[in-house]
Amino acid sequence: MAMIHARGLGKTFRVADKQPGLAGTLRHFLQRRHRDVSAVRDVSFLVEPGEVVGFLGPNGAGKTTTLKMLTGLIHPSSGSVEVAGFRPQRRQADFLRRITLVMGNKQQLIWDLPPLDSLRVNAAVYGIDDAEAQRRIRELSEMLEMGEELTRPVRKLSLGQRMKAELLAALLHRPDVLFLDEPTLGLDVNAQARVRSFLAQYNRRYGATLLLTSHYMADITALCPRVLLIHEGSLMHDGSLAELTTRLAPCREVRLELREPLPAAAFAAYGTVEDLQGRAVRLLVRRERLTASVARLLAELPVVDLEVREPPIEELIGQLFRREPAP
């Protein structure tokens, strides 16, 4: 049975429309106008137990709205969702014990007290006895490489230490399903890497299912064999990152260094010349012809060095989002 099953999920918000200026303010006060904004449209997907899935999309694409529907914080306007066999909007205690939501920009820890106090509260709320709670805290803090931070007030912790403590608090009840909304937001490169490695370890150790949004492609490439790409509320891709790259970039870039300069026409049989600077050439070659073209280039032209490059995924997705919205 799938751990997450979304069927035709949609969410429409009614927002007030107000024109700027005094006239707009008066009109807004006397006669409010509203319009419907479709934040998520007909999104369907399945996530199997133990899968780690990346949720990609620009700001406002509908990622957080979808996560909130999956956790039961908001109700879908259309479609249905099941998580761990529960309907999230009913917010049953047994469902809440099996999930967690970590938001990089929100915190659940008590600001003026050490994280251990928040952990004690969470242990009591989730009915974890003291000895078991201590054991889990020890285990998770080892995985997160945490030490005396647990006894320092949260307000005195760095952003990275705070996020690690947030993760510890969110995972103390050992949820089966983790929803992570920008868990590495604002962290430095080292802290990001630690959070990533912790999440991978947690997934391996407990077989937990992870659905993660991030603006850092490094998070996605390191953790997610599968990605969901959402844009303007609609799901545009559901598959591996490699498939997405192939779909977005049908060509690969081949960089050549030649022994002597050649005219552009000499490369027409191998691919499209993107740049030609003396002995340095950049060609775009279709993926399906790549092996054959590279073999021919090496055999037929005076090649000193050859490099095949994958276009950066950030760039490809950025290009996609700059295009017109999907129909």
Binding site: N122, A124, D176, R205
Partner: protein, 277 residues
């Protein structure tokens, strides 16, 4: 899944443990703000100021001017009102409004504990933190005016110790109803200020009900306000008060208003779920 789950503790034990841990954690949190709590305790000295005003009135016009209460009865009443007020202060609307606007409600909603209990325990922890400061203020008053010192009779003290938490529960239930308006407006706390005016005048904070004309007194007694201050204050002060009626009123008002607050929560959550955090 290869994980081991701890079996949930039996329901009652689980509830007690949650209450104990939440209370001790909130107490630790309140201690961080002890200086602020001293200021709050000091800001609640309105009954002591009113004592000065009414003592002057009593001295000038005799007990008739103060509804038959002499100087000693007035002193005891306002000191008792001060104590009652200190342990029935409710500020849930401000915390809830802040939590809703800052998005802190979402993590609470994702845990298997109704958020209202976090606010209730925060209030109780604040009352525990407040206790030594209230005792210190009382000791100071008794030191300055030894004549005003008295000890309530044990039955009255016991009755007051039951009535004060009930008064707090009623005050909390009333403010919780207004708090639920946070789901519809971003400034629900402003409405609480409107409610504060009848509370101030009808509860007995600024004047003992005995000093009011008969009609006003009857009107006040038909509202929940006097049962939250005047009734427990008179229990402590040893004044004349309908004990059974007071407890029945406290219980009835709470039993009527608490379900309205619960319905408000349900409706509010429906709206919150539709509009998002």
């Amino acid at each position: 899944m290869n994980q081991r789950r701890s079996w949930p503790l039996p329901r009652a034990a689980h509830g007690l443990r949650m209450a104990r841990v939440l209370l001790s954690t909130q107490y630790a949190y309140m201690l961080e703000y002890r200086a602020e709590i001293v200021l709050w305790a000091l800001s609640g000295v309105l009954p002591l100021i009113m004592l000065g005003v009414w003592s002057e009135a009593s001295a000038a016009g005799g007990p008739e001017a103060t509804g038959g209460l002499g100087a000693q009865a007035l002193g005891r009443y306002f000191l008792s009102a001060f104590v009652v007020r200190q342990f029935t202060i409710v500020w849930v609307i401000h915390s809830f409004e802040e939590d809703t606007l800052a998005g802190r409600l979402s993590p609470y909603l994702l845990q298997p504990l109704a958020p209202v209990w976090r606010y209730v325990t925060a209030h109780l922890a604040e009352q525990i933190t407040r206790l030594p400061f209230v005792l210190a203020i009382l000791a100071l008053v008794f030191l300055i005016h030894p004549a005003s010192a008295w000890l309530p009779s044990p039955p009255r003290l016991l009755a007051a110790l039951v009535a004060i938490p009930l008064a707090f529960a009623l005050r909390f239930a009333i403010q919780w109803i207004l708090t639920m308006l946070c789901f519809w407006t971003e400034r629900a706390a402003a409405l609480e200020r409107l409610m504060y005016i009848p509370y101030l005048f009808l509860s007995g904070l600024v004047a003992p009900l005995e000093a009011y004309p008969e009609g006003v007194r009857a009107f006040a007694l038909a509202t929940p306000f006097p049962w939250m201050v005047h009734f427990p204050a008179q229990l402590l002060a040893g004044g004349e008060v309908p004990v059974a009626r007071g407890f029945v009123a406290l219980l009835l008002w709470t039993l009527v208003l608490a379900p309205i607050g619960w319905m408000g929560w349900k409706l509010g959550m429906r709206r919150h779920s539709a509009l998002g955090a």
